[in-house]
Amino acid sequence: VDESGLTIPSDLGRITVSPAAIAQIVGRVAAECYGVVGMSLRGAARERVTQLLPKGRPGRGVVVRNVDGAVALELHVVVAYGLNLAEVAATVRSQVGYEVERLTGLPVASVDVHIQDVKRTA
């Protein structure tokens, strides 16, 4: 993980956005994505920075990396049972990518969505 944060150039000096701040945004957007009923620590995310985040805190299950000044994201999500998983994953990708670019102004290089579990909610 690149802990140095991502930089937005500006006339008045550098603006740095920390990976944790981006993870917060991603977590909040993901929670509003249709079909996502939870974030997961299983899989690759367990090893990384997000393991420090308590359950229920936005940012859990999110990995943020800096790839040449662009944001590379990895999300580990739990999806509701009975939904079309490919479509939910595609939606999460586009919604998260769109909101991160809109809110931070940083280019998004990639959004990888891992469906870690499917949960029956009813």
Binding site: C33, V36, G82, N84, V88, A90, S94, V113, A122
Partner: protein
């Protein structure tokens, strides 16, 4: 009418109405991502429901199951997924109670709302979710006030509250207020309730509520007075509907032909894609008219008198629903074949000429399903297949295919048509898929892509305000120029993207391109980027008059 017939009529009527309102609902789509495909996605999802229903036995449980299954398998996009969840909740109650009365409807709507809300961690109000929930609440209140309320009174209460909730969506979700629209998905859901009212009570389906900012497609209606479901004045026996890919200038002649063979004619659309509906006694002539004008897709014929048997026969005979095209060379076995996603006849021809064996119709706002890609992959004469999605949104769908087939499938993540063309320059039919994918991905990533399209609404961008009708020059990182004419947008986009390092600019003309503008573009390149040579192809793609590939 039995519950069985009600469910079937609801699904079919909803599909017809959504197809007619598709473009208008697409134009409302500003949330969660303003990609203008809500109406298309809801319509495609219901199309899959109707396909399942045709195969289902005449038994209420089987029909309800078909609705559930069809909406799950065919769900497209965010709105399609939510719709599938709503339908599942609804038919679950109908199947369980074995019928539908006033209190049953209230329970079914509640189940639909609960199912919709359960599948998301943090529901966003001001969307389809709000409309579904509030209409369910109104239904429950009606039943609570008078437990003997009949189906119609409960439905009217649900519909009216839903309409009010839809009108309030801009207050709840600021992004809607900014764009001056109501929620697109909520508009689609209200249309469903209106169609149910039509099915139960014969009421006409009203125009969808849109909001001041929405682009109105009314002017494109040929006949405003449509007999929506063929259950009224028309004496003619068959209803024929299809999507027609045809240049705009071919449409007047097409309408003239249709006017001579039937009535209740509706031709809606633009930018090369038209949704066509007619009542006629002559199915052959109705379809031939489309072949003369362009290319018909998803042909659906309904016998208004009898329906089922003949509908199936005609459907099979015309190959409707078959969106996969194959060129002559597709039957020669190779080690690795290529399946590409593309729209526009010219673009398809170019892909074939570059060696592609299978093409699946699709592109921006017209995403093919995993099943369609899978069908194409399994039809090509090779054990290993490379897929070119040619659109960012289609890449994840393409990546699903490998898991569903014995064949080896690799995806070259091309985000545009120009990248797809470039990738094919290193395609070797005799090499393995892994090797091809590696080489093709490397070439595709060398291409700088540019697009010119026209704004369908007022908006803002990093480069200033956008007015409806403005031409936009778009690079992979977003909107770069806003201009009054497409030639100016194209030249200024090239000015921003083409450097002295580049060698070739591939210009792909789509619908809306014209020789004068193309000449203006090539002359601009000659004058300002003399080291670069321009190659012009006719692509015929909808929505984008010009696509550029810069290498």
């Amino acid at each position: 009418m039995s519950e069985l017939e009600t469910v079937r009529a609801l699904a079919r009527g909803a599909l017809d109405s959504l197809e007619l309102s598709r473009e208008r609902i697409d134009d409302l789509n500003v949330y969660p991502v303003p990609d203008g495909d809500t109406g298309t996605n809801m319509s495609l999802t219901l199309g899959s429901v109707c396909d399942e229903l045709r195969e289902a036995e005449d038994d209420l449980a089987a029909v309800c199951k078909a609705v559930s299954r069809g909406s799950l398998m065919g769900a497209r996009g965010n709105s399609g997924v939510i719709l599938s969840q709503i339908l599942r909740g609804f038919v679950g109650v109908v199947a369980e109670s074995g019928g539908l009365d006033g209190s049953g409807l209230a329970r079914a709507l509640r189940a639909a709302a609960d199912a919709a809300y359960q599948a998301v961690m943090r529901p966003v109000e001001g969307t389809i979710l709000t409309v579904v929930r509030e209409s369910a609440e109104a239904a429950e209140e009606t039943v609570a006030a008078d437990p003997s309320s009949d189906l119609l009174s409960v439905l009217v209460a649900a519909r009216d509250r839903g309409d009010k909730a839809l009108a309030r969506t801009p207050e709840l979700l600021p992004v809607l207020a900014e764009a001056g629209v109501v929620d697109a998905g909520g508009t689609g859901y209200l249309l469903l309730l209106d169609v149910l009212l039509h099915v139960i009570d014969g009421r006409p389906v009203p125009e969808p509520r849109v909001g001041e900012g929405a682009v109105r497609a009314d002017a494109r209606l040929v006949h405003a007075a449509v007999d929506e479901h063929g259950d009224g004045s028309s004496e003619l026996r068959y209803e024929v509907m299809y999507f027609l890919e045809a240049p705009d200038e071919a449409i007047p002649a097409f309408k003239d032909v249709w006017a001579g063979i039937g009535d209740s004619i509706v031709v809606v659309g633009g930018d090369g894609l038209w949704n066509c509906h007619i009542h006629t006694d002559d199915i052959g002539a109705a379809v031939e008219a489309a072949v003369d004008a362009g290319r018909p897709r998803k042909i659906r014929v309904t016998d208004l008198a009898e329906q089922v048997e003949e509908e199936r026969w005609v459907r099979e005979a015309t190959g409707a629903g078959d969106v996969v095209d194959f060129p002559p060379h597709a039957s020669e076995p190779v080690c690795t074949a290529v399946v590409a996603v593309a729209a526009g006849d010219g673009i398809k021809r170019i892909f074939y000429s570059l060696g592609v064996q299978g093409i699946v119709a699709g592109g921006q706002s017209m995403n093919p399903s995993t099943a369609e890609l899978l069908a194409a992959v399994e039809a090509v004469p090779a054990e290993e297949v490379v897929i070119l999605p040619n659109n960012k949104n289609i890449i994840p769908v393409a990546e699903q295919v490998d898991a569903h087939t014995d064949r080896t499938v690799r995806v070259v993540p091309t985000r545009g048509i120009a990248e797809g063309f470039a990738a094919l320059m290193s395609y070797d039919p005799e090499a393995r898929a892994d090797e091809n994918a590696k080489e093709m991905t490397a070439l595709a990533s060398n291409v700088v892509a540019g697009e010119v399209t026209q704004a369908v609404r007022d908006s803002t961008s990093d480069v200033g305000p956008i007015a409806e009708g403005d031409f936009l020059g778009i690079a992979s990182d977003g909107i770069r120029v806003v201009e009054q004419t497409q030639a100016a947008a194209a030249c200024r986009l090239l000015e921003a993207l083409v450097t002295d390092e580049h060698e070739i600019v591939t210009v792909i003309e789509g619908d809306g391109a014209n020789p004068a503008d193309t000449r203006a573009i090539t002359e601009w390149l000659d004058e300002h980027r003399p080291e670069v040579s321009a190659e012009v192809h006719h692509g015929g793609q909808p929505l984008y008059p010009y696509l550029f590939g810069i290498e």
